[in-house]
């Protein structure tokens, strides 16, 4: 039993130390990072749109983290924006950095496609705008009505993608999500760039 316990305690100790280096230290360092003065907190509607983004798992195909052009030249050249810095994410709870680019990076989609009509149409059916896109359509974020009521946001879908008759109107979720897309605009200058730090490359152990 003594030996078994020693193994378990040793294993736990190693993990706790790794937690110090990979969890506590980065947290201390990054939470001290300056928040860019031009970064605005999300509005209530944008925050709701963010929840729609989470609920429908957009993160599994889209990243939100353009890389440094000196490291990965494609990102900036595709118009995805300057490299992001920790401060850019100050209001992101939880983070949505993503690890796949089945679709393009969205960190600056609000600057690239600033029209809410474009955003809504694209959500209703991406192929109505981009032939050959493999992004799913999100019809359940829209309602199909014969006559739009007062205050309904009508989305004009080009044939043959729209309904035969009547109109497509956006739900509150769709509007919130589109507003969140427009809020993804990090084209302001980042105070902490360039953030080349001395590398601590020395192999250890």
């Amino acid at each position: 039993m003594k030996r078994a316990l020693a193994i378990m305690v040793g294993a736990a100790l190693i993990l706790l130390l790794a937690t110090l280096t990979l969890v506590v230290m980065p947290y201390l360092q990054m939470s001290a990072e300056q928040v860019p003065p031009d970064l605005k907190p999300y509005t209530e509607q944008q925050q709701r749109g963010r929840q729609v983004y989470i609920a429908n798992g957009c993160v599994y195909c889209h990243s939100q983290q353009p890389r440094d052009p000196s490291f990965a030249p494609g990102d900036k050249a595709r118009g995805w924006g300057r490299p992001s810095v920790p401060g850019d994410y100050a209001y992101d709870k939880p983070h949505l950095l993503g690890t796949m680019r089945t679709g393009p990076d969205l960190f600056n989609i609000g600057a690239r496609q600033p029209s809410i009509d474009w955003q809504l149409m694209h959500l209703y059916n991406p192929r109505a705008i981009i032939k050959g896109s493999i992004m799913p359509s999100y019809p359940f974020l829209f309602r199909h009505v014969e006559e739009p009521a007062e205050g309904d946001k009508v989305v004009n879908i080009p044939p043959p993608y729209g309904p035969e008759s009547g109109k497509i109107v956006a739900t509150d979720d769709a509007l919130a999500l589109a507003e969140y897309m427009l809020a993804l605009d990090h084209t302001y200058p980042a105070p902490t760039l360039p953030k080349r730090q001395p590398k601590s490359d020395q192999p250890k152990e």
Partner: protein, 538 residues
């Protein structure tokens, strides 16, 4: 940032020192000098040189040459039976989640080249089906099967009966409730939003409780242990069962880590689920099954201990290689890359032991289903890990990071390595628990060939396409949509491979249920007690 880096250096120094002390401790405590004696603890007296594989067509099990040896075998049979209810709870659940996860994986795969497939319902949109797949196969299949096999191995390794098995049964029920609630939450759009941590944190508490309930029988059984040596498999299993609850608890602390530091915690956790949870379970099982089936001890017990502690030291710090190029401090990324490369040390030591023990016995792959699954799994552990070490280098990762290449690597690890080993273990364990033989040996073959062909197609197509995708993404002259079109054939091939794998799982599940229902031909005696004809082994 200089003070931070200074603190970092101090911490890594402390870390290395602790590792060194642990190593010295194990040497001082004679963990090393016993060497090969410890490697033999998995055999009962006189058993060495005899194969044990209850799933083998014409296996003639060792029943002891004299009364003392026969008594030891009989005691082991009693130990196997002691854990039966607990193991069956965990294994049957895992097979169910494997099937469910496979269907969701297949659906995700189809959706990626046929986006209108099941797109009308919000509950079946890609972004919900995919996390259901990941969580069902990780926490349902891999984790539950892993715990089930651990519950089988622990009494065997300690040469005693499982004590407190009812806690493990209860834990299994709670774990299943957690899965049902968690997967439903994702389907309803209530995900917590971070990859590998999608289950709402309230639900996650159920997993912590369920897992902790499994620790009780582990501790009780360890306290009763009848062996002097702790075989290396028990090191891995004990450590994994300690690590998982700690990880799961810290990573799920609600809203503790915002923004970019949340990303580091997220990936610290996600890689630790792989490195400190499913990997030690998989390696530990292989460390038991390979020598047991061959009837010969692993070639170097010393190496296996070095492999264990270096895995603990290095694997716990590789998580940030999932964020290379991301908005986080450079030192952190570098630290993880260095450790990723250092991981080749445990990987190579494990490889020497697993494959070295196999040397000269490859002929056994033909007739032993368990060995075939387990050894191929062990081989794919070597392959996927060496691939992973390369993938963590900045120059490679800049290409592969955001592509299907990563998904291919993920399945090489989680499937070709881990799931194969789990399949092999289930084939070994079930006859021992049910005292029944696998009714149709051909179905085992069919299962093997379906999943092997499937995973081969899956990994090869996505590896090639993912690499091309990554190279093209770096070159802005190629329009994004052209890249998407370029990857389409590989995504379709993945659906083919995935369909074969799913078929294989159906065969496996059918056979498993047949076994539970005692289908097929009954044997006159429990598997272990068939006519005692001494086996001739090489």
């Amino acid at each position: 940032m200089t003070p931070t880096i200074a603190v970092l250096l101090i911490i890594t120094f402390v870390l290395s020192t602790v590792g060194l002390l642990l190593l010295i401790w194990s040497i001082a405590n004679n963990q090393f000098s016993h060497g090969q004696a410890a490697a033999r603890t998995i055999f009962s007296p006189g058993e060495e040189g005899h194969s044990e594989d209850p799933a083998r067509p014409s296996d003639l099990p060792f029943t002891g040459d004299n009364s003392e040896q026969a008594a030891a075998i009989e005691a082991r049979w009693a130990a196997d039976q002691s854990s039966r209810t607990a193991i069956l709870t965990w294994l049957s659940s895992s097979v169910f989640w494997l099937l469910l996860g496979s269907f969701f994986g297949l659906a995700s795969s189809i959706k990626m080249h046929f986006p209108e497939f099941l797109a009308a319902s919000e509950f079946l949109t890609f972004g919900r089906v995919r996390p259901v797949h990941l969580n069902a196969v990780t926490y349902g299949w891999a984790s539950m099967a892993g715990i089930g096999v651990a519950l089988f191995l622990i009494p065997r390794l300690f040469k005693t009966s499982l004590a407190g098995g009812k806690y493990a049964v209860l834990g299994g029920f709670i774990w299943n409730i957690g899965l049902v609630l968690g997967l439903s939450a994702i389907t309803l759009g209530l995900s917590d939003g971070e990859e590998w941590l999608e289950f709402p944190w309230q639900v996650d508490l159920l997993f912590v409780v369920g897992g902790a309930l499994c620790a009780i029988p582990l501790l009780l059984t360890a306290a009763n242990r009848q062996v002097e040596h702790l075989y290396v498999t028990s090191w891995y299993l004990m450590a994994a069962l300690v690590w998982f609850p700690i990880l799961f608890l810290i990573a799920n602390l609600p809203f503790a880590f915002p923004g970019a530091s949340g990303a580091t915690v997220n990936w610290w956790f996600a890689h630790n689920v792989l490195g400190l949870w499913v990997t030690p379970i998989g390696i530990g099982i292989a460390y038991y099954m390979i020598p047991k089936i061959l009837g010969r001890p692993i070639i170097s017990y010393q190496l296996s201990l070095i492999g264990f502690w270096s895995l603990a030291l290095f694997y716990s710090q590789v998580g940030i290689h999932h964020l290379i190029g991301g908005p986080i401090p450079t030192w952190l990324v570098t630290l993880s890359i260095v450790h990723s490369v250092m991981m080749s040390i445990p990987v190579i030591t494990v490889a020497i032991n697993h494959h070295g023990t196999m040397m000269g016995n490859f002929g056994r792959l033909k007739d032993s289903p368990t060995l075939r699954f387990v050894w191929i799994g062990a081989l794919m552990y070597t392959v996927s890990s060496l691939q992973g070490s390369m993938e963590a280098l900045r120059s490679i990762n800049v290409i592969t990071h955001f592509t299907h290449y990563t998904v291919a690597h993920a399945h090489l690890g989680m499937y070709a390595f881990l799931s194969f080993i789990l399949f092999g273990a289930v084939y070994f364990i079930m006859p021992r628990l049910t005292n029944w033989e696998w009714p149709w040996r051909r179905l085992i073959s069919l299962h093997f060939w379906l999943v092997s062909a499937g995973i081969l197609i899956y990994v090869v197509s996505l590896t090639v396409a993912g690499w091309k995708q990554g190279v093209a993404l770096l070159n802005a002259a190629m329009p994004f949509l052209d890249i998407v079109k370029m990857t389409l054939p590989a995504l379709q091939a993945r659906t083919l491979g995935g369909a074969l794998m799913t078929l294989g799982h159906l065969v496996f599940a059918f056979h498993f249920i047949a076994m539970l229902m005692r289908h097929g031909a009954a044997t006159e005696q429990p598997t272990l007690f068939r006519p005692a004809i001494k086996e001739t082994t090489q």
